[in-house]
Amino acid sequence: MNAVIEVEDLAKKYGDVEAVRGIGFSVGAGEIFGFLGPNGAGKTTTIKILCTLLQPTSGRARLAGLDVATSPGDVRRRIGVIFQDPALDDRLTAEENLMLHAVAYRVPRGERTGRITEALRFVDLHERAKDLTRTFSGGMKRRLEIARGLIHRPEILFLDEPTTGLDPQTRARTWEVLRALRRDFGTTLFLTTHYMDEAENCDRIAVIDHGKIVALDTPAALKQRVGKDLVTARSDNPNELARLLSEKYGITSTPVDGGLSFLVEQGDAFIVKLLTADRPTLGGISVRRPTLDDVFLSLTGRQIREEGAEGQFARLRAIARRRG
């Protein structure tokens, strides 16, 4: 596979804060590559370095063989970037935004109008071409930015949290567009996300935490790595339960809000065995096949988003109350 992004030992410090601590990876042509991690893990910093907006403190990054630090101009011509927050001029129309982009990226004059029409059709916005973008919804703005990313046919398209803040329907539509982009133009996609289900769309994922890559593989292989089911138990006395699990079954558990969770093979059978043999006092218990969330949990000991864990426990509490 031909590598279009090659990163070696890349690091970025802001004063004393190490945002990125020596990461390395490579991305092949036409690949959809995802950076998965919680907010503040170093995802946006990495993308800004790759897009030439930030200078790395040390290490090297090459795009299509060009060093981002020493030839930013050549790199910029080959990439497209869709930022986390909309970067449109909202007092211009959709068409005017795209035209400005076409001129900036030196799209041949004769091809501009054609490409703009084509790109607007691609994201289903051609009927709004003459409208000011300030009248657009969040999802429409995001789609317009994707259209803009297509205008100069970049070899690599960077997307920083492409679907954050979008409703599920728009997220699904955005992903259709992104997959079509790879299919029709062979574009390499590099994206960051903190949504597990979004990461599932990637060919390969680098799990990043505290500025370091803690795992890099396909989503399936990452899940396989966990292998076991995730059991989450709600308990008023989690320490006692933790001791029981480790002494009798040799299972290491992770405390979570209001209880604990642990990984075990054949979780459903294990629960039955645990409840009949040991009769622990539990407020609720659940078992789930491994997801990328669990991959993250097993790699870092934390859940990617704390509110996700709370939501789960709220559900468990409700179940416990109904049964009690």
């Binding site: 030439t52 907006l53 930022f83 001029d89 211009l92 400005l100 900036a104």
Partner: protein, 251 residues
């Protein structure tokens, strides 16, 4: 390259022309000065020999033209803060455009919009009885445009360091008031106290006002060639500073 600068310049012009209300409200400040200050003091002000016979309201017109450019051009730089806040600046910085081209387009647009406002102000001034040379006014416009460029550049230097609209507003107000009041826009600069005179002499706006007054009304304090030279030099110097500030800016 030229095409990119033109496209970026055109973007700001399109937005300026779409917002007509802005153009109308920009006339309030100069006409308030002309009417309230001009007519208010006309009877009590005796202009020095060189300007004797000139009506005080007409005397104020060149200063008001320069003031219009000063305020419009300075506040046009807020677009940098605005575009950083709303993300568009990132789109520009990641595009294969030299940063110098972005600055050049900004300066050209900031100066053009300000000059349009000054031109409109000059066109309307005769309605309240101001009298001045039309040829002189037309000749003044390119000079005002260069002055506008240097002011816009100063605005960009401030905007490049500011993270908020409020921050930009307060810093700009802090520098814009002395530039305006100590420029001779409101009074002749002959016979000023020594300290005040020194401040007026180092203020580039004094030379812009002086040249426009010379061209439109007749009396002027410095040679017009010196006025033009100072305005051009200020444009180049502030332009270079703006470019440097923009280069160092992070998003």
């Amino acid at each position: 390259m030229i095409e990119v600068i033109y496209a970026l310049w055109r973007r700001d012009m399109v937005k300026f022309l779409r917002d007509r209300r802005n153009l109308i409200t920009s006339m309030v400040r100069p006409f308030l000065w002309l009417v309230a200050f001009g007519f208010g003091l006309r009877a009590s002000v005796k202009l020095p020999e060189a300007g004797a016979g000139t009506d005080f309201v007409s005397f104020l017109v060149p200063g008001m033209a320069a003031m219009t450019v000063l305020f419009a051009s300075m506040f046009a730089a807020i677009s940098i803060v605005w575009e950083r806040e709303f993300g568009f600046l990132k789109e520009l910085l990641v595009a294969p455009i030299p940063r110098g081209a972005i600055v050049a387009a900004k300066l050209a647009a900031g100066s053009a919009t300000a000059t349009v406002e000054a031109g409109l102000m000059l066109a309307l001034a005769p309605l309240i009885g101001a009298r001045f040379s039309v040829t002189g006014a037309l000749l003044s416009l390119p000079l005002l445009a260069v002055f506008g460029m240097s002011v816009n550049a100063l605005g960009i230097v401030v905007a490049a360091r500011m993270k908020s609209f409020e921050g930009f507003g307060s810093v700009v107000n802090f520098i814009i008031q002395p530039i305006f009041f100590l420029s001779g826009a409101l009074y002749p600069i002959d016979g000023l106290p020594r300290v005040l005179r020194i401040v007026v002499l180092i203020n580039p706006m004094s030379y812009a006002v002086d040249a426009v007054r010379g061209l439109c009304i007749g009396p002027h304090h410095f040679p017009i060639a010196l006025d033009v030279a100072v305005v051009l030099a200020a444009g180049l110097a502030f332009g270079a500073l703006a470019r440097r500030a923009f280069n160092k800016m992070e998003v």
